[in-house]
Amino acid sequence: MKPPRAPLFLQRETYRRRRIMDAARILPVVGFVLILLPVLWTRGRALSTAAEAVYLFVLWLVLVLAAAALSRPLRAALKRDAEAAERRASPAPDEGAP
């Protein structure tokens, strides 16, 4: 019987959170590249406008779903961050702005 392997990373959650942030940063780059793809197709007129529209809308939906999937953990990270900041700083006095 093999002994259970010790986890390689002690702070798995923190690590996972950071990778989710990375994913959130990469997502728009990937999206931009994929949005530019029809430009290349146009050269050869391989696809009709209707097909390109279908492609773009599917891509759009995928981007929305990916963003939705990422938003929950990111929101949690944001909250934690804000709470930490709140604890660090004293509450700001309410004051008028011009």
Binding site: M21, A24, R25, L27, P28, V29, G31, F32, I35, L36, P38, V39, T42, R45, S48, T49, A50, E52, A53, V54, L56, F57, W60, L61, L63, V64, L65, A66, A67, A68, L70, S71, R72, L74, R75, L78, K79, D81, A82, A85, E86, R88, A89, S90, P91, A92, P93, D94, E95, G96, A97, P98
Partner: protein, 912 residues
């Protein structure tokens, strides 16, 4: 349908909106009064829907027209923002965080705040925003005028007149809502809620038309796709340059458009709403774009040739008898246009009043105050002024929009007008990105970039947009100013054949960025800029609630509140009782009762002096200025505070150093005192010792001489007693000799007789001489004769005396049964080290320090010889010879180390 129905419908819709906005406002007010959060009004859903103000009449009508003309290109306008929102973690998050931390009120405020609170930069951004938004508002007016016109084909209708009335109506609506009150955060609950409702109306209207087209006119999506393929035209092919450029431009626009900044950053209630909007807003955009192409295709196929594609959404159901649907579409378009105009006007009015009107008014007031004409500051007056300035700005902005519409003729494609606006606002991008990510970006650079980019945009896109001959002459357009070909507005620097929009976008942004970067690299930022750049770029490192030195605005506290604030502050500094009595005295001095005096200059001066005593002049001044003057703490103040603080720190450092020095001196004194006490004790014991030592032989001499004086002493006894007396007197003499010797040595008056000899011979002599001590004990000697071949040049006699003493001590005190003496010789540099080690029990640790003292004798049992001066003399001799004698612990017996220089220099001796 006629105007008789449309106008009441539009009016009814406006009243509906008005009701919603007032209800929301009242609800928010009530909740705030009861101390609760307006949870629904400030929910992620409402936030996302309010963002849909991005989708204006351009989207509602123009997108279909755009699609009919250029195919899929209309999607770039929505894909760009989708990317920005999907990538919110990069940029939007930081933008919103900074906006909240710095209490930013508009994009102009953000830029000016970052670049050292420079009002000049704020004015430039405001001017660009006003100019760039003008065509956009004209677009909305045009679309509303067109939509009215579409229904009233038979009736004669002057679109310009209609547009004017629409503009007036919208201005009134915006003024009623946007300037009802002055909120400290520039948040407008009512308006935002109304915008959210409008977002739903326009989405439902467009979806309804779309669904009717796909499932009513066509037979579902598959059929629709086939029809789109049929309707396809060659000009629908994607143009790579425009595709990329417009996606980028739309992404930039969503960040820089004043109304988007207003709803996205200023009206944002909670950062985490952004997380929801990151996917929900792209979803909304997608839903808005979903049926654009089908409606365009259906319009192209079903409507007569030459109908305006911008109105397909409206004319398609109208022409096919779907009047209800047409009415819904009309309201959707109306709502899209009104929401944009309202928010844009509010955002621009905020910018105009904060960056242009109020500073100008303050400056004029200041001049008047300097001449003694008016009080320098009046809070209630200010409030009215700001509101009126905003009302006026709203009117002016809508008037400008109408003017643009009237001049440009109101016949151009909606999308083309909108893109001019986008390109104009895009000029803020370099300064904005620099503000967020580049510490080195400076005010000069930002101003230069904005001005250069703005001018380039005006020349290459905005002014030509009126058409040749209106503002820029046709000749200038074709030939360039003064016939200079490479300055033609659409072919700047010889770049020909490029799409005019891309051409303008490329040149304006390229020149803008170049000027921005060059200006930043060459200029030197002011201290405020540096502080602000750190606040912006490193916003995540700074606590959220952190009050930056510049985040404060001018306070509008009434005099009473100010006095209260001053009292609260003074209590913290002076202590409650003292501050209160000071305030009370001052109040009485002013002829009032209570604790709160009027903040007259006289009182403030006194208070400042009072506080300065505790916290320093600059700090006191800054603190009072912050409460009363209401002005920002200037960097000069901060500098003075800093230098004062530095001085105080220096003083305290000096004090610390001094107190350390004092502690050191005290320690030294204590040590000296201890030494003196020890010396005194030593002296006492020395005296008692010496009297004791002298007394013992003297006693026996006296006793025996008395016996000798008796007559009954036999001759035999006389001889014996005489020997005793003789011995004792010898002992006495030796003791006195030793004492004399020691005193001479201690005073350093000894005359050294320097001779040359070998160390080995010295040791031989010492061993021989000490054999007389306890001659019956046999000692095993262990020596390394080879080591001892060291030529010495020193006082040989004295050194031998030391050796004899040490060896005799070993002979006397070594208690081993088979005593053994090891003599080890080493040479280190110019020093000779001789160790005498026996195998006895050694000397206990506590006594090791004592043995070199005078009369130190460890035990009485070994009193056999000397008076206990031997080792003391040895030590003095060694000191005189420039060396030392020390006890060497841990050698397995008593061990003495004698070290001395092989050559004693006369000079070295003199120095001792």
């Amino acid at each position: 349908m006629t105007l008789n129905i449309l106008v009441p419908a539009a009016l009814a819709y406006v009243i509906f909106l008005f009701t919603i906005a007032s209800l929301a406002e009242r609800r928010a007010e009530a909740l705030r009064a009861s101390g609760r959060q307006a949870r629904f009004l400030r929910s992620p859903l409402v936030y996302t829907l309010s963002l849909s103000v991005y989708c204006t009449a351009w989207t509602f009508y123009g997108a279909v027209g755009y699609a009919a003309r250029s195919g899929l290109e209309f999607m770039t306008i929505y894909l760009g923002p989708t990317l920005v929102f999907v990538g919110w973690w990069w940029l939007l998050r930081k933008l919103v965080r900074i906006g909240k931390a710095q209490r930013v009120t508009s994009i102009a405020d953000l830029i000016s705040s970052r670049y050292g609170k420079s009002n000049a930069v704020g004015v430039i951004v405001t001017v660009i925003a006003v100019i760039a938004t003008t065509p956009y508002i004209a677009l909305q007016l045009q679309s509303i005028a067109l939509s009215f016109g579409a229904f009233t084909a038979g009736e004669t209708l002057a679109p310009q007149q209609l547009a004017m009335w629409v503009a007036v109506g919208l201005a009134l609506f915006t003024i009623l809502f946007g300037t009802r009150n002055l909120d400290s955060n520039e948040q407008h609950h009512g308006v935002v809620t109304a915008i959210a409702v409008e977002a739903v109306v326009k989405l439902v209207a467009l979806l309804a038309v779309g669904i009717w087209v796909v499932w009513g006119l066509a037979e579902g999506p598959t059929d629709m796709l086939a029809r789109i393929a049929q309707a396809e035209r060659p000009e629908w092919a994607i143009e790579p340059g425009r595709w990329m450029g417009l996606t980028f431009l739309a992404g930039v626009a969503i960040l820089t458009l004043p109304r988007m900044f207003q709803v996205m950053v200023v009206e944002n209630a909670d950062e985490s709403h952004l997380a929801v909007a990151s996917w929900a807003f792209p979803l909304y955009l997608m839903a808005m774009s979903l049926f654009v192409l089908p409606i365009a295709a259906a319009g192209l196929m079903l409507l007569p040739e030459g109908s305006n594609p911008d109105l397909f959404v409206l004319t398609l159901p109208h022409a096919l008898g779907q009047n209800g649907l047409a009415m819904l579409a009309f309201l959707g378009g109306f709502s899209a246009a009104t929401s944009m105009v309202i928010i844009a006007a509010i955002a621009l009015a905020t910018m105009v009043s904060n960056h242009i009107v109020v500073p100008m008014w303050l400056a004029s007031r200041q001049r008047a105050a300097d001449r003694g004409l008016a009080p320098a500051r009046d809070a209630s007056d200010m409030r009215g002024l700001v509101l009126n300035a905003r009302r006026l700005s709203i009117g002016v902005i809508l008037g400008l929009g109408y003017l643009y519409f009237a001049i440009s003729g109101g016949s151009r494609a909606l999308a083309a007008i909108g893109l001019i606006s986008f390109a104009g606002m895009a000029q803020v991008l370099p300064a904005l990105i620099g503000a967020l990510y580049w510490r080195g970006a400076s005010r000069i650079g930002a101003a230069a970039g904005l001005v250069v980019g703005g001018l380039a945009w005006l020349y290459t896109l905005f002014l030509p947009s009126f058409g040749p001959g209106v503002i820029l002459g046709a000749e200038l357009m074709a030939e360039g100013p003064l016939g200079i070909g490479w300055l033609r507005p659409h072919a700047l620097f010889g770049v020909e054949g490029l799409d005019p929009l891309l051409h303008a976008l490329f040149w304006s942004l390229a020149l803008n960025a170049t000027a921005f970067i060059t200006g930043s690299l060459l200029s030197f930022p002011s201290p405020v800029e540096r502080v602000q750049s750190a606040q912006f770029v490193n916003v995540y490192d700074i606590g959220q609630g952190d009050e930056s030195p510049g985040a404060r605005g001018w306070s509008r506290e009434a005099a009473e509140n100010e006095a209260e604030d001053l009292l609260a502050m003074s209590q913290r500094i002076l202590g409650a009782a003292e501050a209160q009595s000071f305030f009370e005295a001052q109040t009485r001095g002013q002829g009032k009762a209570g604790f709160l005096p009027d903040p007259t200059p006289d009182f403030l001066d006194k208070l400042e002096r009072e506080l300065a005593g505790s916290v320093g002049a600059a700090t006191a001044h800054a603190m009072i200025a912050q409460i009363v003057g209401g002005r920002l703490v200037t960097v000069d103040d901060l500098m003075a505070v800093a230098s004062e603080t530095a001085m105080i720190m220096e003083h305290s450092a000096q004090l610390e150093a001094k107190s350390e020095e004092l502690a050191r001196t005290a320690r030294q004194l204590r040590e000296a005192n201890e030494l003196l006490q020890k010396l005194s004790v030593q002296k006492d014991s020395f005296l008692s010792q010496i009297s004791h030592e002298l007394r013992t032989p003297m006693t026996s001499i006296r006793a025996f001489s008395e016996i000798l004086m008796d007559d009954e002493v036999t001759g035999d006894e006389i001889t014996r007693y005489a020997r005793i007396i003789h011995d004792e007197s010898i002992r006495l003499t030796r003791l006195l000799d030793d004492l004399l010797d020691l005193s001479v040595l201690e005073n350093g008056q000894v005359n050294l007789d320097i001779q040359r000899a070998l160390l080995g011979d010295l040791i031989d002599r010492a061993l021989m001489a000490s054999n007389s001590v306890l001659p019956h004990r046999h000692f095993t000697l262990r020596r390394q004769s080879a080591d001892e071949e060291i030529a010495l040049s020193t006082d040989i006699g004295r050194l031998t005396q030391v050796f004899i003493n040490v060896v005799s001590n070993a002979r006397k005190y070594c208690d081993a049964t088979a005593p053994e003496l090891r003599i080890a010789v080493r040479q280190r540099g110019g020093k000779v080290v001789v160790d005498f080690i026996d195998n006895g029990s050694g000397i206990p640790k506590k006594s090791q320090m004592l043995i070199f003292e005078k009369f130190a004798r460890l035990t009485d049992t070994h009193q056999a010889g000397g008076a206990g001066l031997g080792l003391a003399i040895c030590r003095e001799i060694m000191h005189n010879l420039g060396g030392d004698i020390a006890y060497l612990p841990g050698q397995g017996g008593a061990a003495f180390r004698v070290s001395f220089p092989a050559r004693l220099e006369a000079r070295a001796r003199a120095a001792e």
